[in-house]
Symmetry: C2
Subunit: 332 residues, 2 copies
DNA sequence: TAGCGTGAGGTAAGCGCTTTCCCGGGAAAG
DNA sequence: CTTTCCCGGGAAAGCGCTTACCTCACGCTA
């Protein structure tokens, strides 16, 4: 690859001058030299080596994002928000997919640190795993000690800047809606047991059951994706034939539930969680608990890019019921 | 941040030794020193500076991916495939979203080159824009001249390794299916005019019309997203009241068409293109032309990571009709 | 005419690593 | 008891940039 040296030599100037011209330094340079250097740059297709540059000035500019999986619509939305503000700020964002593997998450934090990112945001549920939490805290602390900024979305295993969706309240809302419709007993399609998102939403649902004096909901665990949601629905219905309503702990699984129900001769209400874009296009259109995903992403990125504050900033974002057509009173 | 110097000093060894231990060099090192260095690394939470490292060895390791928008399900699927093979190969992937802006695409190619990526894959339609094509070709050639590898998905404005979906044949398939069902005249919801994906698919549709001796389809242009697809459907139906079938040039717009049709008292067939995951969950389930998106991504990444070949490798991937419930014979 | 300020350009010292080359000492060989 | 190897370890030269500092020539003032 052509280097700055090549450019300088070809233009007949020193590397200092070439560098100044290329970077638009404030130091004045004569028009003649400027032209020569620019011509050399064009001729050689010169592009400055980003690593060398990063090493020389030591200001950090990229930012890192750790998510479970960008191709999951939930994270896709969040990422869209994150990107929006990062790009506005002229920053490259490095996206890392953990596929819900805690070990990989730890590795990625290291990798981002190695890449000298100015900030990182961790999105997605935390894990119920004290050992992991400790390790993560340690790594993040070390990073912050050297001026790194971090913000998290939706995990409370860490103090610091965070945007936390009110999963518990959302769960409550879902339960309340279903009970208000007249359902007496709920089935729940939950996500992986070790995720805090699962337990928080479930807690809200259980609280709704208690406060409406209903039996605790019947829970089946799945993987937060469509197909496992469909399978869990089948299991649940087989085990509890009297169920009239199902709350899925995210929309993907709710869509799976709907798919399963299509082949079944029973009218069962389904409520989802998140309000992903597809929710309104399935049939029946999915009633769900809405979270402003893109906004959450944007918020987290702004937090991460703003100056650190003395006290951790925690932005709670409320969940909201969106009624569509997949919930209705039970047949009697 | 702690540097290698800090580690070496704390362990009482030279930076050379520390480096060797940290990188698992082949040079033998005594166990005692190894332990001391490892302890120092742990104590200091040392992480090697990726940029310095990249500069010192000059082997390129990361790979870059340029897509229109990862949060679009089409690219999400492709990206999933790309990631899978890149990760297997132990490589960091840098994802860049152009949001269909040719200028941004050019910038990102530069950026990836600056970051010394070993390879890059450009996914997504090309543009009908000779100036842009020339500029892009120039930049890519310069990159390849310095050992960079590039593979593209679905654009034929460039010779080189490529995986190209057979969009024209897919368009033909869609038209054929509809004509076989008995429709006499088709409406088409097309994507942006300047994308080759749009024109290729459209060409296939027109060929189908000719070979079935039907009038050319009526075309409305939209933006490859749901809402513009819905709007275009409304326009099309208003302008051509006798239409009985609509071919949307991607699934997102087909979903938009379905959404619009829900509020309309006419039975109209809709066929999509791509077979994104949601296609089977909308109602009616979407008949569409399937493209194996994730596989295409994986294939492109393998091409990019493999040794360059003398002749450009072009992997054609066939499109395939997936019949579901959104297409049916016209009412008579 | 001497003295000085100013502005354009160059010199070189790093940034944090990797890796080649060299050195010293102990084991093996004579 | 030398000599020869070998092997663990360190010194130092870059990798490609940025930037603080220096130089030199010119033009101005006194």
């Amino acid at each position: 690859m052509a280097t700055l040296d090549d450019v300088a030599r070809r233009a007949g100037v020193s590397t200092a001058t070439a560098s100044r011209i290329i970077n638009g330094s404030s130091k004045p340079v004569s028009a003649a030299l400027r032209d020569r250097v620019e011509a050399a740059v064009a001729d050689l297709h010169y592009v400055p080596n980003a690593h060398a540059r990063q090493l020389a000035r030591s200001e950090r500019t990229a930012v890192g994002v750790v998510v479970h999986d960008v191709s999951d619509p939930y994270f896709a939305e969040i990422t869209r928000g994150l990107q929006r503000v990062a790009t506005t700020d002229g920053r490259l964002v490095i996206i890392c997919n953990t596929y819900r593997d805690p070990a990989r998450e730890l590795d990625y934090v290291e990798l981002l640190r190695a890449h000298q990112v100015a900030a990182m945001v961790l999105a997605g549920s935390g894990y119920h795993d004290p050992g992991f939490a400790r390790a993560l805290r340690g790594k993040l602390r070390a990073y912050e000690l050297t001026g790194g900024r971090v913000a998290v979305i939706g995990r409370h295993d860490r103090t610091g800047d965070a945007v936390v969706p009110d999963n518990e309240a959302g769960g409550y809302l879902a339960g309340e809606h279903l009970y208000a419709l007249g359902h007496r007993e709920l089935g729940v399609i939950a996500g992986p047991r070790n995720l805090t998102t699962t337990t928080d939403r479930l807690t809200g649902l259980r609280r709704a059951a208690r406060s409406h004096r209903r039996p605790p909901p019947k829970v089946a665990y799945a993987d937060f994706d469509r197909d496992s949601g469909a399978a869990a629905t089948a299991d649940l219905l087989a085990a509890h034939p009297r169920l009239t309503a199902i709350a899925a702990l995210n929309d993907s699984m709710a869509v799976g539930a709907l798919a399963h129900l299509r082949g079944v001769d029973r009218r069962i209400s389904v409520i989802g969680f998140d309000d992903m874009p597809i929710a309104r296009d399935v049939t029946p259109a999915l009633t769900t608990i809405r979270l402003p995903l893109a906004d959450m992403g944007a918020l987290a990125m702004s937090l991460a890019l703003s100056a650190p504050s003395r006290d951790p900033r925690v932005e709670r974002v409320p969940a909201e019921l969106v009624e569509r057509e997949s919930t209705f009173p039970p047949d009697r």
